[in-house]
C-alpha cells in the first residue's frame, strides 16, 4: 500500500517474483510523484539506483526516460566514489513510472485509501479500504511515507497533511500506535517553488549537463531526452539580515517542532544560525521539467511565513522580481523505529506486515525504492527473504544500518557508510547483484540474458588487460616512465601508474578507445585499487564468517549473567540475526561478543 517510490518498487518486485500484486494508493495520478526535489541519484544514492536496476527494478529505467540534466558527480575521483545523478522532468518521470507499472504482468492498481489492517492469528493478512471493502493478501507491504500523522509548519500555520494538498493518514497512524510499535518523530523541509519566467536567467552563471550522459540502467544504451542547464546563484548579507530579523517566526526556531531534522539538509534558517560566519550560501536553480514553468531552488528550504520568504528571496541575485508558485514549509511525521524489523523489513511483532520507505526513518527516493524492492521481493518469496549483505551492496548497508542501529535523524545514504566502498561501485552493481537476483527469481529473462553477454565480454577484456604486456624498453618508447628493471608490465600494471591514463594506453591499444563507461571504470578500479581490493577481499571473507553465525530468534540473553545490563538491553531491542550484526550494535564490547559466541556454540551443541 502506497504508490510512492517504495510502494512502486515493492509492487513491481512482488509481481516479478510471480505473485499477484495489488498496489493500493490514494490517487492513481500521483504514482511516481517526486514529492520534493525532482532529481535521482548522487554520491551513494546513485549507487543505490544502479543496484535497484541490477535487480531489475524500475527506478533507473524511469530516470533514463526522463532525466533532463545528467551529471556524473566526483568524475575526477576514482570509480568507487563516482555518483551518477540526474535531474528529472517531473512529468516525464511520473509518466515513465506509470507506464513501467502498466507493462508489468501480475500487477493491479487500486485507487483507494487504506483505513486499517486485517489481522488474524497474529498475522497481517490484508487491508481494509475506507469504503469498507476488504482486500485479503498473504503479505502486506506498508509504504505510506510521511503520511503518518504528517503536520506541515509554515510560520505560525499548522496544516495536518502529507504533501501539500493531500490528506494525512491519521487513522492508520493510530492503528500502528495501538500496536505499541516504537514510534519516533522526524522533520524535513522543502523550499519555495519559483516561476521560471520571473527569474533573470541572463544574470546567472549556468551549470551544463555532462556532454556524454551516462545512463543509470544497465539496459539503456543512450539517453535521448533533451539536456538542459541549471542556474547558480547565492544568498548575501541582505538575505541573511532578513532571515535573522525574522528568525523567531520560523516554525523550527519558535520551538513548535519536536521532530529531529537531517543535519545534511538544513533549512536556510539553520545554515544562518549555525554557520553565522559564512557570508553567502550557494543555490542551484533547477527547472522541474522541459515544459514546466516551475523552478526548484536547491539549498534554501524554509519554514518562515510566506511574506518573509518573499522578502528574503527577492534579495538574491536573479530573483529580484521572483514570483513564488508555492511557499516552502517544514513537515513533521511519525516513523517506526526500524530496529523492530527483521532484515527483510518484516515487523517482528506482526508477521506478514512489511514496512519500507520513509516510514522507516529514511529520506530520499532511492533509499525508499531500495527498501521497497527488498520488502516486496521478500514478501512474495516462498523460499525465504531476499538478503543482501553489507559486503554485497549499498542496499545491504542501508538495511543493516536501519535494523541494527536505528535512526536518530532522517537516514540518507553516503559512500562513507560503506566499509567495503572500494568494491561496491556503481560500475559493477550488476556483477554483484544480477546473478543473486536471477537466482532469487527477481530478474527477468531479458536482463539475465543481457548480463550474461556483458559479463563474458568483461571477463575477456580483463584477461586481455592482464596478459597483454610490454617490456620497460617498449614502455619507455611509448613515453611512459617506468623503472628499467626488466619486468614486463601488463596493461593493468601500466594503468595503475598515476602518470598513465586510459587515453594514453588507447593510442597503443585501440580497443581501449571504445570501452563502455562501466568497462573503463572497472579496469581503472582493478588497476588503481589493486592492493587495496585484495585487502578488502580478505576483510570481506572475515566479515562473512561472522555473518554466517546465526543467533536463534528466541535466544535468551538473560542466560548470560556476565553481560552488562546495558549491552543485554541493546541486544534485546535489536535482536541481531547473526554474530556479525551483533558486533555493529552501538555499545558492544569485544568481551561481550566473545561471551556471546561461546554461549551460541554451547547452545548449538546442546540442541
Amino acid at each position: 500500500m502506497g504508490g510512492g517510490h517504495a510502494g512502486c518498487e515493492a509492487a513491481a518486485a512482488a509481481a516479478r517474483m510471480g505473485a499477484e500484486a495489488i498496489l493500493v494508493t490514494h490517487k492513481r495520478s500521483t504514482i511516481g510523484e517526486m514529492s520534493c526535489n525532482p532529481a535521482i541519484g548522487g554520491v551513494g544514492k546513485g549507487h543505490l539506483v544502479r543496484e535497484i536496476d541490477a535487480l531489475d527494478g524500475i527506478m533507473a529505467k524511469a530516470i533514463d526516460r526522463s532525466g533532463i540534466q545528467f551529471r556524473m558527480l566526483n568524475a575526477s575521483r576514482g570509480p568507487a566514489v563516482r555518483g551518477p545523478r540526474a535531474q528529472a522532468d517531473r512529468k516525464l518521470y511520473k509518466a515513465a513510472v506509470q507506464s513501467l507499472l502498466a507493462e508489468q504482468e501480475n500487477l493491479e492498481i487500486v485507487e483507494a485509501a487504506v483505513e486499517d489492517l486485517i489481522v488474524k492469528d497474529d498475522r497481517c493478512c490484508g487491508v481494509i479500504l475506507s469504503s469498507g471493502e476488504k482486500l485479503e493478501a498473504d503479505a502486506v507491504v506498508l509504504t505510506t511515507g510521511t503520511f503518518l500523522r504528517g503536520l506541515i509548519h509554515r510560520g505560525q500555520e499548522r496544516i495536518p497533511a502529507g504533501r501539500v494538498g493531500e490528506a494525512p493518514a491519521t487513522t492508520l497512524g493510530e492503528r500502528l500506535e495501538a500496536m505499541q510499535l516504537p514510534l519516533g518523530r522526524l522533520k524535513t523541509g522543502t523550499p519555495a517553488r519559483l516561476a521560471f519566467a520571473s527569474i533573470a536567467w541572463d544574470a546567472l552563471e549556468m551549470q551544463p549537463a555532462d556532454v556524454r550522459p551516462v545512463p543509470f540502467s544497465f539496459l539503456t544504451d543512450r539517453i535521448e531526452v533533451q539536456q538542459i542547464s541549471c542556474g547558480i546563484t547565492e544568498t548575501n548579507h541582505a538575505t541573511h539580515r532578513v532571515i535573522a530579523e525574522n528568525i523567531e517566526k520560523s516554525a523550527v526556531y519558535s520551538g513548535a517542532i519536536a521532530g529531529k531534522g537531517p543535519r545534511y539538509c538544513p533549512s536556510i534558517e539553520d545554515k544562518i544560525v549555525r554557520f553565522a560566519e559564512k557570508a553567502s550560501h550557494q543555490i542551484f536553480l533547477e527547472p522541474e521539467g522541459l515544459s514546466d514553468d516551475t523552478v526548484y531552488p536547491n539549498g534554501i528550504s524554509s519554514s518562515l511565513p510566506a511574506d518573509v520568504q518573499d522578502a528574503f528571496l527577492r534579495t538574491i541575485k536573479g530573483l529580484d522580481d521572483v514570483e513564488v508558485k508555492e511557499y516552502g514549509y517544514a513537515i513533521e511525521y511519525d516513523f517506526v523505529d526500524p530496529r523492530s524489523l527483521t532484515k527483510s523489513l518484516e515487523l517482528r511483532a506482526l508477521s506478514g506486515l512489511y514496512l519500507a520507505g520513509q516510514i522507516n526513518g529514511t529520506t530520499g527516493y532511492e533509499e525508499a525504492g531500495a527498501q521497497g524492492l527488498v520488502a516486496g521481493a521478500s514478501a512474495a518469496s516462498s523460499s525465504g527473504p531476499l538478503e543482501i549483505s553489507r559486503s554485497q551492496g549499498y542496499i545491504g548497508v542501508l538495511v543493516d544500518d536501519l535494523v541494527s542501529r536505528g535512526v536518530s535523524e532522517p537516514y540518507r545514504m553516503f559512500t562513507s557508510r560503506a566499509e567495503y566502498r572500494l568494491s561496491l561501485r556503481a560500475d559493477n552493481a550488476d556483477d554483484r547483484l544480477t546473478p543473486l537476483g536471477t537466482a532469487f527469481g527477481l530478474v527477468g529473462e531479458q536482463r539475465a540474458e543481457a548480463f550474461h553477454v556483458k559479463h563474458s565480454s568483461w571477463k575477456a577484456l580483463r584477461s586481455w588487460a592482464e596478459e597483454t604486456k610490454m617490456t620497460p624498453n617498449e614502455a619507455a618508447a611509448h613515453g611512459f616512465s617506468v623503472k628499467q628493471d626488466g619486468r614486463r608490465r601488463s596493461v593493468l600494471d601500466l594503468l595503475s601508474l598515476p602518470a598513465v591514463s586510459m587515453t594514453d594506453l588507447a593510442k597503443i591499444h585501440p580497443r581501449l578507445a571504445d570501452l563502455s563507461p562501466d568497462e573503463a571504470a572497472k579496469l581503472e578500479a582493478d588497476a588503481t585499487y589493486s592492493g587495496f581490493l585484495d585487502r578488502q577481499a580478505e576483510d570481506i571473507a572475515g566479515f562473512q564468517k561472522y555473518e554466517a553465525l546465526q543467533i536463534p530468534t528466541d535466544f535468551d540473553y538473560s542466560g548470560l549473567p556476565s553481560l552488562s545490563a546495558e549491552v543485554r538491553q541493546r541486544l534485546d531491542t535489536t535482536r541481531p540475526a547473526t554474530l556479525g550484526q551483533a558486533s555493529r550494535i552501538e555499545g558492544m564490547t569485544p568481551a561481550a561478543l566473545a561471551l556471546l559466541s561461546v554461549a551460541l556454540r554451547k547452545s548449538s551443541r546442546a540442541a
Binding site: 545534511y264 542501529r405 564490547t589
Partner: protein, 430 residues
C-alpha cells in the same frame, strides 16, 4: 577480521621458551620470510629467524599447520623461541612491519569458533578467551597508566576521524560550495600530528619498558681490547674471566646491576675480528654481534694509541653509542680510559648515566600488544601520501585502517563517527 594476526601463545613471564602463533591467510608467507620456507606440515624444524633484511632475530623451532587442520582453522605458523624480552620485542617489530597485526583478546578463540574448530571441552581453546575477560576487567580496574593510554588513543582516533571527515566530505558532498575540492592539504597536518604522536609514544613505550625491565649495555671490541676488565670494573665484581690470551670470553656474560638508579644489564662479549681462527671462535663472534645489535647501548672498545677505530667496528655504532679508547695508562692519551684508573672509570660511568636517563624514563607503560597496535597504525599512516596520490579515496582507506587499530587499542567498537564530524565542520545541504 581475517587479517593475519599473531600473539605470544605461551604464558607471559620469563620462561625459557616462548611460543608465538601466527594465524591467517598470510601465515605461510610470513613463515617463509622469517625462516626461508614453511617446511613440512605439522613437523617441527630447527630454524634461524631473520627479519626482512636478513638480520638474525633468534633461533628455535618452527611448525607449520596449513588450514583447516589447525587450531584456528586458518593457516597457522608457530615459532618456539628463547623466552627473552628482547626477542619478543624484536619479533613484534618485524611482524608488524610485515603488516601482521597483534591479536586482540580472545581473537584466536573467536576464529577457532567461527571456523567450527573450537571444542569447549578443550581447555586450550578457552584459555586465551578467559584470559581476555580478566585482562579487560583488569584494564578497566587499573584506571592509572593504561587509562591514560586509552584516553590518548581516543584523542588520536579523534584527530584521524577529523582528517577522515575532511576527505569524506569532499567525496560525499561534491557539489557543496563550503567543501573545498583540494581537501588532502587539510587532512595532511592532522595525519602528520598523529604520526608524530604515535612515534613519540612508541619511543616512550620503549623507554617505559626499560624502566621496568632494565637497560642492556653491550661491550664490544676486538680481542684483548680490555673489555672484560672494563666489564668487571663497571659491575664492580670479579665475574668475567680476565686473561691476556686472546679469545677467552666465548659466551656472552651478563650481569645485572643498579647504576645511578637504573636497572642495567652489562653484557661482556667475545672479541670480534674479521677472520676468526676457529669455528668455536666464529660462534662466539656471532653471539657477540647479536647481543650488541639487540642491546640498547653499546660501548665500542678499542685500545688507545692503536690508530683510528677500524671500519668494521664503526659499522656496529648507532646514535648515542660510546666509544671507549682503552688502556690509556699505556698510551697516555688524555681522553682515553683505563681500567686501572678509578677516575677514568668514574668518567665513563657518568657518560653512561647521561645515556641511561635518555634511554629509560617513566611513561605510559605499553605492553607488546599495545605497542604493536600503535606501530601498525603508524605503518598504515606512513602510506597516506602515496595512497592519496594514487586516488584520493585510497587516502581514506589508510586512515580508516589506522583508526581501527586505535579502536582495538581502546577496546571500543565504534559506529562511524565520521559523518558527525563532517556535519559539525561544514555547512552542507541543499
Amino acid at each position: 577480521m581475517s587479517a593475519t594476526i599473531f600473539a605470544k601463545a605461551s604464558g607471559s613471564g620469563r620462561s625459557g621458551v616462548a611460543v608465538y602463533r601466527i594465524s591467517g591467510p598470510e601465515a605461510g608467507r610470513v613463515l617463509s620470510t622469517l625462516t626461508g620456507s614453511t617446511g613440512k606440515p605439522r613437523a617441527a624444524r630447527r630454524v634461524t629467524v631473520r627479519d626482512g633484511d636478513g638480520a638474525q632475530v633468534d633461533d628455535g623451532l618452527a611448525l607449520w599447520f596449513p588450514g583447516p587442520a589447525s587450531f584456528t582453522g586458518e593457516d597457522v605458523a608457530e615459532l618456539q623461541l628463547h623466552g627473552s624480552i628482547a626477542v619478543e620485542r624484536r619479533l613484534t617489530e618485524v611482524l608488524t612491519g610485515l603488516g601482521i597485526e597483534p591479536a586482540g583478546p580472545g581473537a584466536f578463540s573467536m576464529r577457532a569458533f567461527a571456523n567450527g574448530k573450537m571444542d569447549l571441552t578443550q581447555a586450550e581453546g578457552l584459555s586465551d578467551l578467559l584470559e581476555a575477560e580478566t585482562e579487560l576487567q583488569l584494564k578497566q580496574a587499573l584506571a592509572g597508566h593504561s587509562g591514560q593510554l586509552r584516553a590518548l588513543a581516543d584523542e588520536w582516533r579523534g584527530l584521524l576521524i577529523s582528517a577522515l571527515a575532511q576527505l569524506e566530505a569532499a567525496v560525499d558532498f561534491p557539489d557543496e560550495e563550503d567543501v573545498p575540492a583540494q581537501i588532502a592539504e587539510r587532512a595532511l597536518p592532522l595525519v602528520r600530528d598523529v604520526r608524530t604522536a604515535l612515534s613519540d609514544q612508541l619511543a616512550t613505550a620503549a623507554r617505559a619498558r626499560r624502566v621496568a625491565e632494565g637497560v642492556t649495555i653491550a661491550i664490544l671490541g676486538p680481542p684483548n681490547a680490555g673489555k672484560s676488565s672494563l666489564f668487571n670494573r663497571l659491575v664492580a665484581d670479579e665475574r668475567a674471566i680476565v686473561s691476556p690470551e686472546e679469545g677467552t670470553t666465548r659466551d656472552v656474560v651478563s650481569e645485572r646491576v643498579e647504576l645511578h638508579g637504573h636497572l642495567v644489564s652489562f653484557l661482556d662479549t667475545a672479541g670480534v675480528r674479521e677472520d676468526p681462527s676457529s669455528s668455536v671462535e666464529a660462534t662466539g663472534i656471532g653471539l657477540a654481534v647479536r647481543a650488541a645489535e639487540q642491546a640498547d647501548l653499546r660501548l665500542l672498545c678499542y685500545p688507545s694509541g692503536a690508530g683510528d677505530l677500524p671500519g668494521w667496528l664503526q659499522s656496529y655504532r648507532r646514535d648515542g653509542d660510546i666509544i671507549v679508547r682503552t688502556k690509556s695508562d699505556l698510551s697516555g692519551e688524555l681522553d682515553g680510559y683505563s681500567s686501572l684508573d678509578d677516575q677514568s672509570v668514574e668518567r665513563l660511568s657518568l657518560q653512561i648515566r647521561a645515556r641511561l636517563d635518555d634511554l629509560a624514563a617513566p611513561g605510559l607503560a605499553a605492553s607488546e600488544r599495545q605497542a604493536g597496535l600503535i606501530r601498525a597504525a603508524l605503518v598504515s599512516l606512513d602510506g597516506f601520501e602515496a595512497s592519496i596520490e594514487a586516488a584520493p579515496e585510497l587516502g581514506s582507506e589508510t586512515i580508516r585502517h589506522a583508526a581501527t587499530r586505535l579502536e582495538e587499542l581502546t577496546g571500543r567498537i565504534a559506529p562511524d563517527d565520521v559523518l558527525g564530524d563532517i556535519f559539525s565542520s561544514f555547512c552542507i545541504g541543499k
